[in-house]
């Protein structure tokens, strides 16, 4: 079928986003307005309890009440329902434009399970004997992740992907310190197309970061790695496939070389969607790995958390894992805090249990064959979409032209930009006019004018065709009416905003208090 026919099959939506011009909640309400009227304390109670505030130390008491909005319940409901209509997300649109994030359908039945009172009403300080059921789920899920990765031990404690990478960097540090060369081994090697947290987290943990740039095939050459290796190498922390969607086929040799100088290897598997059941961290020789349950394992992203970044380790490194680890002696499940070499906690308690419940339900509903089908389908979807996108003049996929990618592709719109003056950012804002989200890429933009698309297993051929048709339409508009694209969005909640204050410390305002301080005259 030729392109014209195919495109005529895909009808673009006449989309317009809700636009409420809604103030933020701190601007709503009137003094004295209340959502809940709390009854006065009855005199006998007051007499029995006394002045409860007097029990608080004076320096802990507020001099003035907090500046919270004073607002009635119906106003609150309306406010948040309006805001909910002004979003895009995986339950609303074809959400394949947020590459690297593995946006997939999170089955609603799993939400129901996580909200069962048996889960939702547990308290983290309950005695182990009263929470054997949930500990069993945590333990079983650790066992599942061991099977998926080949690792010997898991901790579910870290609360996000970056928390997991930080935990693994801390394990590397603790391991070398215990061997007596902690001061010498202060360098972590990563790659520019690994997730930026693979550099940022070990840096936060005190390491010097050595970043490898790609060779001609999109991943670093072995010679580049050798230049980075020395007696100061603490470890390698990388993603594979990298953010380009290219799998480094020499990764086993990378691991061997790093081990050869005494370093350890940590595999960022936050996004393992293209390799589930196909390749395992341990089989390649990695010492550590981590999974984001909100990416690969369908626990939803939850608008930034809370989440689980599960960390796995070989038997040699298991003693360093964050505490607690859930153990089973054949009769009872326990929370094992008695691990003297542990790096300790990287968040409170023992992980975000509802996220584990959802991921566990997702895995057991699929089984091993199902997980492999997830990977195969996501790779197939990605390569179908890549074919469609590369048919659009102005789009390219740098490195290794003509080859397949794993689960995502970092495209370049450089040719379109040179031809039309329309930037990747503009294309993304125009795509919003058709009801889809589109992300450029992490910085630095080594691939010029980038965008990263990741169609997971959750999207149908019709979904992928719709997304490709939107990109084709916007590319056509970039040529026929560039002003339209460059001034987009037109059918969204808001029109183009001046982004300058977002990266200017003098002008950005990420809290209401900062906003009031920096903008004495309100914007509205």
């Amino acid at each position: 079928m030729d392109d014209a026919n195919r495109q005529s099959e895909t009808r673009l939506r006449r989309f317009h986003q809700a636009k409420w011009d809604e103030p933020i909640i701190l601007e709503l309400g009137t003094p004295g307005e209340r959502g809940v009227l709390v009854p006065e304390v009855e005199p006998p109670v007051r007499a029995a309890v006394g002045d409860v505030l007097a029990a608080l130390p004076a320096n802990m008491r507020r001099r003035e009440p907090p500046g919270l909005p004073e607002i009635s319940q119906p106003q609150v409901v309306r406010h948040y329902l309006r805001l909910s209509q002004e979003t895009l997300g995986v339950d609303l649109n074809v959400d394949i434009g947020q590459g690297t994030c593995t946006m997939k359908y999170s089955p609603k039945v799993n939400e129901e399970l996580a909200r069962l009172p048996e889960v939702a009403e547990l308290h983290p300080l309950q005695d182990e004997s009263t929470v054997q059921g949930i500990l069993e789920i945590l333990f079983r899920f650790q066992e599942i992740l061991k099977a998926i990765s080949g690792m010997d031990s898991f901790s579910l404690q870290p609360g996000a992907g970056s928390a997991a990478i930080y935990a693994n960097a801390s394990i590397l540090r603790a391991y070398h310190a215990r061997r007596g060369d902690g001061n010498q081994r202060d360098e972590i090697i990563t790659t520019i197309f690994s997730h930026p947290s693979d550099a940022a987290c070990p840096k936060t943990a005190g390491f010097r970061i050595i970043t490898l740039y790609p060779g001609p095939r999109g991943y670093p050459t072995l010679d580049a790695l050798k230049r980075a290796l020395s007696e100061r190498t603490a470890g390698l922390m990388i993603t594979n496939p990298e953010d380009t969607g290219i799998f480094n086929p020499e990764v086993d040799e990378f691991v061997r070389l790093v081990h050869g100088v005494g370093g350890l290897c940590s595999y960022d598997q936050a996004n393992a969607n293209g390799i589930l059941g196909i390749t395992r961290a341990r089989d390649v020789g990695f010492d550590l790995c981590h999974f984001n349950l909100h990416k690969t394992f369908a626990a939803p992203h939850g608008c930034g958390g809370p989440a689980v970044g599960a960390v796995g380790a070989t038997a040699e490194l298991a003693p360093f894992l964050p505490v607690p680890v859930v153990t089973f002696d054949g009769r009872r499940y326990s929370l094992d805090y008695d691990r003297p070499l542990s790096i300790g906690k990287v968040r409170s308690f023992y992980g975000v249990v509802p996220a584990v419940v959802k991921a566990y339900a997702w895995v057991v509903s699929l089984g091993p064959e199902g997980l492999r089908t997830v990977a195969e389908t996501s790779v197939l979807n990605n390569n179908y979409l890549m074919k469609r996108v590369l048919e659009i003049p102005g789009f390219s996929a740098p490195y290794e032209p003509g080859t397949h990618r794993i689960e995502q592709v970092r495209y370049s719109l450089e040719d379109l930009t040179k031809e039309t003056g329309v930037h990747s950012e503009d294309v993304g804002l125009r795509a919003a006019d058709f009801g889809v989200h589109y992300w450029t890429s992490h910085h630095p933009w080594v691939v010029p004018e980038p965008c990263t698309l990741e169609p997971t297993e959750s999207f149908s051929k019709a979904d992928l065709d719709e997304y490709a048709a939107i990109l084709r339409r916007v590319a056509d508009e970039a040529r026929s009416d560039p002003k339209l694209v460059r001034s987009a969005p037109h059918a969204s909640t808001t029109h183009r905003v001046d982004p300058a204050p977002l990266d200017d410390p003098a002008r950005w305002a990420v809290t209401w208090r900062a906003y009031k301080r920096k903008y004495a005259t309100p914007i509205r």
């Binding site: 550099a199 490898l212 050798k226 630095p444 001046d498 300058a500």
Partner: protein, 399 residues
């Protein structure tokens, strides 16, 4: 509805200089347009002026903002005509010999704009025009090039005319952050013979705009100045007392001197220690006189957009000097954006000593921030791709 407090009150003044003869040589197969004889030949071959058309494209994003932006420009084809055609009522400085403008007219106009005060000087031209602007105003004005020349090796140009207009608008009414960018000098005499020979000529301050360097929406909060200060802090923290440091030219190495509390000659080679300047603007023989007697390190930064580590603008750090200090004592420093600007091309070495170039080739560690390094490829001249804009078939040679 413009947010109060975001756009400071007051009108902005845009300076506009169009070099009407820029780009003349390109379409008719000449490799530049410098000098009256080349321009005559270009016109004889039927060249049509492009610069005004490109300047007109650049002003398109600014049209409609007359309520906020005043234009100060030069008479006739050096800007007035374009500004009027774009809907502005420009103020005009000076007079020009129409049809016979020279580099002096550009310089005079730029100086006049500095005197009268402009918030941003937008100029349409090529490397030669950028050099004229640099000669006239140095780093005192914020300037930006509309690409309209044949050769544009300098990093002061937007990627296309519309991007220049976008960047100008964004700078005038929005974020007012600047970075320094290289002005390059390509020897046109050599270029006419098919040889690209470049040197660093100076620096202009340009808007640190996303259209030139990165994303509109999510640029790094770290300014160029912050990144350079971080690189400098890393280098200085690891300096040792007895060692001499031979600082190559440029703003990255200047930041190191600044961190040490020392002055740096921007385009020269300075020898410093942790305690002071040992030799300012050193020659090769001065370097050779000191390096055998004390441990020394060479600190250089690649030329942005082009990638030369050695052989362009730092010739006093000669093969003899490099052999004396040893390859292991060469420290490369570069902001990540500078690496990104190479578009994947390797760093280049062209010391004039092929054996040494070969030894310096391979991979090098580059300090890119505080506690941050990159590993990047280095190529000797022959193997490297010519920089964007190089004449087809050109070969690299020592400059």
């Amino acid at each position: 509805m413009e947010p109060l407090g975001v756009h400071p009150a007051g009108r902005r003044t845009l300076g506009l200089i169009v070099n009407p003869v820029a780009g003349l040589g390109g379409r008719v197969g000449l490799k530049g347009s410098d000098g009256a004889s080349v321009q005559r030949e270009a016109l004889a071959r039927g060249a049509a002026p492009l610069a005004e058309q490109r300047a007109r494209q650049a002003l398109a994003p600014l049209a409609g903002r007359q309520e906020a932006i005043d234009v100060l420009t030069v008479a006739g084809e050096m800007g007035e005509a374009v500004a009027c055609a774009s809907g502005f009522a420009p103020r005009v400085v000076g007079s020009i010999p129409s049809g016979r403008t020279t580099a002096e007219d550009t310089k005079t106009a730029a100086r006049e704009m500095e005197r009268l005060g402009v918030d941003l000087l937008l100029f349409a031209g090529g490397d030669g025009t950028a050099r004229d602007v640099y000669d006239a105003v140095g780093e005192r004005l914020v300037a930006l090039g509309i690409p309209a020349g044949v050769k544009m090796h300098s990093a002061v140009f937007a990627v296309n005319p519309v991007a220049a207009g976008d960047a100008a608008l964004s700078y005038l009414v929005g974020r007012r952050r600047v970075r320094t960018a290289e002005v390059m000098d390509v020897d046109e005499q050599e270029l006419h013979r098919g040889i690209v020979s470049t040197r660093l000529y100076g620096y202009l301050r340009v808007p640190e705009d996303v259209r030139l360097v990165q994303s509109l929406k999510a640029p790094t909060p770290a300014s160029e100045g912050g990144v350079l200060a971080a690189i400098a802090a890393d280098v200085v923290d690891r300096m040792v007392d007895e060692t001499l440091y031979i600082l190559g030219p440029g703003t990255t190495t200047r930041a190191i001197a600044t961190r040490l509390g020392l002055a740096k000659t921007l385009l020269g080679i300075d020898v410093v220690s942790r305690h002071g300047v040992v030799i300012a603007d050193a020659t090769e023989s001065q370097l050779l006189a000191v390096v055998p007697h004390r441990p020394a390190k060479v600190i250089v930064s690649p030329i942005g957009g082009q990638g030369h580590l050695f052989g362009r603008g730092n010739q006093p750090i000669s093969p003899a000097v490099l052999r004396a200090v040893g390859r292991a004592s060469v420290l490369v420093v570069a902001a990540p954006d500078k690496i990104r600007s190479l578009g994947g091309r390797p760093f280049l070495v062209d010391t004039g000593d092929a054996d040494l170039d070969h030894e310096l080739s391979g991979y090098v560690r580059v300090v890119t921030g505080y506690g941050e390094e990159a590993v990047y490829e280095v190529s000797s001249g022959g193997a490297g791709e010519p920089a964007a804009g190089a004449a087809p078939g050109a070969v690299w040679t020592s400059g």
